[in-house]
């Protein structure tokens, strides 16, 4: 099973530290020392704020990803428990963006890369669970209210087993009220 990062709207205060942590992890710490216009600020998760909640939304790393199915150039693939985009292969057709039901994919400028007519190159951008970086997802590490959790196969499996056992216990009590 693929892993994913999950936000808890009860804990999230909408501070956007996760978005900054994401960009720092993927672009490097030098972004604090350079002209803000010289690189593109492309967080791979999106802070949603409504009247009722604030929480970041990011890729669920689906088991049968619609984005992967529609990509015409095979730029989206499954690697070590996560779905990753190969930005070299991506040509920005937006099919994945249209296919994703969570709005987890956006198009971002590739700094310093241009198309044949000189206009900026844009490619698909989404959470890669900090693939290839040590320490796991940066958003989870930087969140000041611990509102983000990396959900692994074991954790989800354990939670399901706990819930099933609880349901079974409750059902047993119903038929054996004396105990």
């Amino acid at each position: 099973m693929n892993y994913f990062v999950k936000g808890n709207p009860d804990l999230c205060i909408g501070c956007r530290t996760c978005m900054i942590g994401c960009v720092v992890a993927h672009e490097g710490k030098h972004i604090f020392e350079v002209d803000p216009d010289s690189y593109s600020f492309n967080p791979k998760l999106h802070m949603v704020k409504t009247a009722n909640l604030s929480v970041p939304v990011q890729c669920k790393h689906c088991e049968n990803p619609a984005c992967m199915a529609v990509c015409p150039v095979g730029a989206i693939s499954q690697k070590d428990h996560c779905i990753v985009i190969d930005t070299e292969k991506c040509m920005g057709c937006k099919s994945c963006m249209d296919a994703c039901p969570f709005g987890a994919i956006n198009m971002t400028v590739q700094t310093g890369k241009f198309q044949a007519d000189g206009t900026e190159k844009k490619v698909a951008n989404k959470c890669d669970l900090c693939y290839g970086f040590s320490g796991g997802p940066a958003c989870v590490r930087v969140c000041p209210t611990e509102a983000l959790t990396l959900v692994t196969e074991d954790e989800l499996g354990d939670a399901m087993e706990r819930k099933r056992a609880e349901a079974a216990r409750n059902a047993y009590l119903e038929t054996h009220p004396q105990e």
Partner: protein, 187 residues
Amino acid sequence: MKKEIGSFVVGDSTKCTGCKACELACFTVHNRKSNHLGKTVGTVTVPVTPRLFLTKFEQGCMPIQCKHCEDAPCLNACTKGAISRIDHQVIVDAEKCIGCKDCMQACPFGAIALLPYARDGRLVGQAMSSEPKVFASKCDLCEGIEGGPACVRVCPHQALRLVDPEAEREEKNIRAAEALLLTKNWR
């Protein structure tokens, strides 16, 4: 908010019946001025050259058209500089196109066809060939045409949709965030 990426039209194979009204509407609106197309069939003196292509496949049919890619392979492949990005859309300059077929090969959707080029109700010829001049025919989202994409407007089954990808993404984000409220006690 500033629109930063290009829109596109997508077909829905669950609704499409393959009537080709989209192809005809596309041809008509693009040739009203240049080829004096009126409202009746009798005014058509040139070959029908749609910019989207009704495609039949094993499970059904749907029109296929340009996605206006953000790193457009057709644009990058065009040596003549006949394809450019105007107001976030990928647009072919039919006058400049020399029919080299590179864009067709570069496009992974098959969204481009080389079709005969007509002007003033007549096919445009070439000096040393009996074949008419062709151009890379692809969706331009009805650039400069009042009312937006004709295919979307004409489809009798609402099987075509003009997508504003960023706006739709934000809407989907909100639904996803609301779903997180329902799953917050997953443990």
